[in-house]
Amino acid sequence: MAGGTDLIVLLRVNPERVNSPELIVDIKEIPELNELSYSATGGLTLGAAVPCYKIYQNPEVAKAYPGLIDAASLIGGIQIQGRASIGGNLCNSTPSADSIPAMIAHNVMCKIAGPNGTREVAVENFCTGPSQNVLESNELLVSLHFPPSPDNFGARYIRFIPRNEMDIAVAGAGVSVVLDNGTLKSARVALASVAPTPLLVNKISEALAGQPANEATVQEAGKLAKEAASPITDMRGTVEYRKHLCDVLTRRALAAAITRAKGGTVDAD
């Protein structure tokens, strides 16, 4: 248990979801799981138990990983952000998790420890289904490694919810871009709440590389996101509505990521 903001609720209302554990280990005092270290050349190592507020309070990290900051600032309210960790958000593995598309956009690598040593898994391959992931029962997520952000890099995570805050994403989009003189050198788009797992849309990366960073390219990305999404209809939204949101959110997040890559600022939601 790190922040426990999902686990403690599940133990109360749906213990089977977390395999009705006989023993719970508080990992918040383990040094490796609390690492928060950043260097321009080495990137960011974020321990699995680091709570959200420590991330957005760090100005260097905020500058280098704006998509992560977007997500960490909108998960729950201030009370939740004081406890909840990004590692926990990942291990809970819901399709709607706000931090996962942002981490996919940031090319994060997950470090997992088990009885046979450690292994690494790219964050887009971590979740395997709703509330399911690659962790074995004897394994532990140790840390998340964010590679150094290259020059002319920008990222953004946005979501749609019916309220202004404190809600679960109907859909969300995490985007990162690297610009080269007005051209997209690379782009990554990941979607929340529209597939059994957070969804990296490889087709957008392929289609956008080398394209001009203009309105037509942004429109194309939105169209591809809409096509890639395979949402379900539930109490939060219908299939049609969610697919439409993928188009809108991808376009907005991509435009904002381009603005950030050019050194500009974007309005808070």
Partner: protein
């Protein structure tokens, strides 16, 4: 093997120790074991903020903290907000601005607002609304609460 854990902590500036079950929440410990019933149980799942306490300098939902995690920590509950001389300026402002009706959410709002105003003495209305998004009130419509916090900010 003992079924309960001995927890030594500080609550509202005083050393307190209590016995709790391993999975008892901090909220249950405060209310049922220590006898501090000011923190309220609303949703018991981290949505409503009625159980907000300050835990080592951060506001948290005490329903989402285990009692055993209080070991060695500094806890502030609503009972520790007023001083022997009188009400805290935030409490006074809640009264003067009629920022409560049924009162169940009020302890959480006051503990959360206190943490905000101590960190940011002059927050904007938007900042106050964002900070208090984790506290639900079903009576007031929030306007009077936000006005009370702004009023208190001028007096702290």
């Amino acid at each position: 093997m003992p079924t309960k854990t001995h927890v030594q902590t500080r609550i509202n500036g005083e050393d307190v120790d209590f016995l709790c079950e391993p999975r008892q929440s901090l909220l249950e410990c405060l209310r049922d074991v220590v006898g501090l019933t000011g923190s309220k149980e609303g949703c018991n799942d981290g949505n409503c903020g009625a159980c907000t306490v300050n835990h080592d300098g951060r506001i948290v939902d005490s329903c989402l903290v285990l009692g055993v995690e209080a070991e060695g920590k500094e806890i502030l509950t609503i009972e520790g907000v007023a001083s022997p001389e009188g009400l805290h300026p935030i409490q006074q402002a809640f009264l003067e601005n009629a920022a409560l009706q049924c009162g169940i959410c009020t302890p959480g709002f006051i503990v959360a607002s206190k943490a905000l105003l101590e960190a940011e003495p002059n927050p904007s209305e938007q900042r106050i609304r964002l900070w208090l998004a984790g506290n639900l009130c079903r009576c007031t419509g929030y306007d009077k609460i936000v006005r009370a916090v702004m009023d208190a900010a001028g007096k702290m």
